[in-house]
């Protein structure tokens, strides 16, 4: 067992646990976006940052990827953490304002402004879908492409993948795709065939902007082109 102190409370957890798991065990809430139980930890969204260490050596780390160390001192809601978290949420809102998950997180953390140029992206590259596809569905049909600002998620060559079995797991775990699942007005969704997936394919024109690996859509059978 590894002994550490979280927000002043001592706790002993198994070796190899993450700070996030230890904090959860004590009941301290840490917001997450790219973390999902059952999938490996990735550390892309940076929302779960916590402060470790003391004095000038104190720093922020992502609690989902940082493994507990003996004697570690962790603060999950210090001023520095809160400031960083708010900025991460502001950046998320600026890029992906339509996501219900992001909206809820922003509201829960009292983010009241968005000072950047507004964008409407349908992917925050958290990589949940990739891990779902690989680790739970054993398919490896989608992955990251490119780097930096050009990074994206999709199939090789943007072609229908031979590995994809149209399971819909990728869409199921996506935190950003509320737009495509329920469109702007959920009640107008024509097809309730897959309540879990809520297809976005109301109109072909809006479908263009959506992130969908299903072709045709399992629910409404609309093809992309």
């Amino acid at each position: 067992m590894i002994n550490l102190v979280i927000n002043g409370l001592p706790v002993a957890v198994e070796e190899g646990s993450t700070i996030l798991e230890a904090a959860k065990y004590l009941g301290f809430p840490i917001p997450t976006l790219c973390h999902l139980e059952g999938l490996s930890n990735y550390g892309a969204c940076r929302l779960c940052v916590v402060e470790i260490g003391e004095g000038p050596k104190a720093r922020l780390v992502s609690s989902c990827t940082y493994q507990v160390e003996e004697g570690l001192k962790v603060r999950t809601a210090s001023a520095r953490v809160v400031k960083a978290r708010k900025m991460v949420l502001e950046l998320l809102l600026a890029s992906c304002p339509q996501s219900k998950v992001i909206q809820d997180l922003a509201s829960a953390h009292d983010v009241r402004q968005q000072r950047f140029r507004q964008e409407h992206e349908d992917c925050i590259l958290c990589g949940l879908c990739i891990r779902m596809c690989e680790e739970q569905m054993m398919a490896k049909a989608i992955g990251f492409r490119n780097r930096g600002e050009n990074r994206s998620i999709g199939t090789p060559f943007d072609m229908k993948s031979e590995e994809c079995r149209l399971c819909g797991g990728c869409m199921y775990v996506c935190p950003a795709c509320q737009l495509r699942c329920t469109y702007m007005e959920p009640e107008k969704a024509i097809c309730g065939g897959c309540a879990n997936l809520s297809p976005p394919c109301l109109e072909k024109s809006s479908f263009e902007d959506m992130m969908c690996y299903m072709d045709p859509c399992v629910a409404c059978e609309i093809r992309k082109d």
């Binding site: 049909a141 989608i142 992955g143 990251f144 090789p156 072609m159 229908k160 993948s161 031979e162 072709d215």
Partner: protein, 186 residues
């Protein structure tokens, strides 16, 4: 765009499985060598043909998603064919403060394409690179492995015209080169 895989791709540009296999065999190490293999394919064909990536994935026992990720992550790889002459403008910091952005713009104007693009006649590809490590002599332009130092915008036309005579092998490090760049005030 999502489209179906077409059969024609299997033999595109006359690339045979055998050629790719040979490149893989040559560069595969006991551990991996994926990047070396992709580099060899890039060097042989000027780009990474989709068919070749599929063969690499299969032979190396890696998923196509992984290989495609690697192929798009690194700047040295291109999934599109490149022009006959490759013009590379260095945009390192030293070149930047000595006026490299104006050189890129001049090339863009003269060639009628943006950086990263290839002219429709497939003659020139204009690229920028983040540092070639010849910082003392910036701005640096490299055309088909021939280095031009202290380039100013008025030399751009000459450099383009000069590239026609560069159709020989210039790989030898001690071979003769012509330099346009005379010392100019920066």
């Amino acid at each position: 765009m999502i489209k179906d895989i077409t059969q024609s791709e299997a033999t595109e540009d006359g690339i045979t499985d055998k050629q790719i296999d040979a490149l893989i065999a040559k560069h595969q190490t006991d551990r991996n060598g994926v990047i070396d293999i992709l580099e060899a394919i890039q060097a042989s064909y000027g780009y990474l043909p989709p068919h070749a990536l599929r063969i690499v994935a299969k032979k190396m026992n890696r998923s196509l998603v992984d290989i495609y990720g690697v192929a798009t992550f690194y700047q040295a790889f291109s999934l599109r064919p490149k022009g006959k002459h490759r013009i590379v403008v260095c945009l390192g910091t030293a070149c930047h403060v000595r006026g490299a952005p104006a050189i890129v713009e001049e090339f863009e104007r003269q060639l009628g394409i943006k950086a990263g693009e290839t002219t429709p006649d497939m003659k020139y590809t204009l690229e920028t690179v983040n540092c070639l490590g010849a910082c003392a002599l910036g701005p640096i332009v490299v055309v088909d492995e021939r280095y031009y130092s202290k380039v100013i915008p008025t030399q751009v036309r000459d450099i383009i015209n000069n590239s026609h005579s560069g159709d020989r092998d210039t790989a030898d490090s001690h071979q003769q080169q012509k330099t346009i760049g005379e010392a100019v005030p920066s």
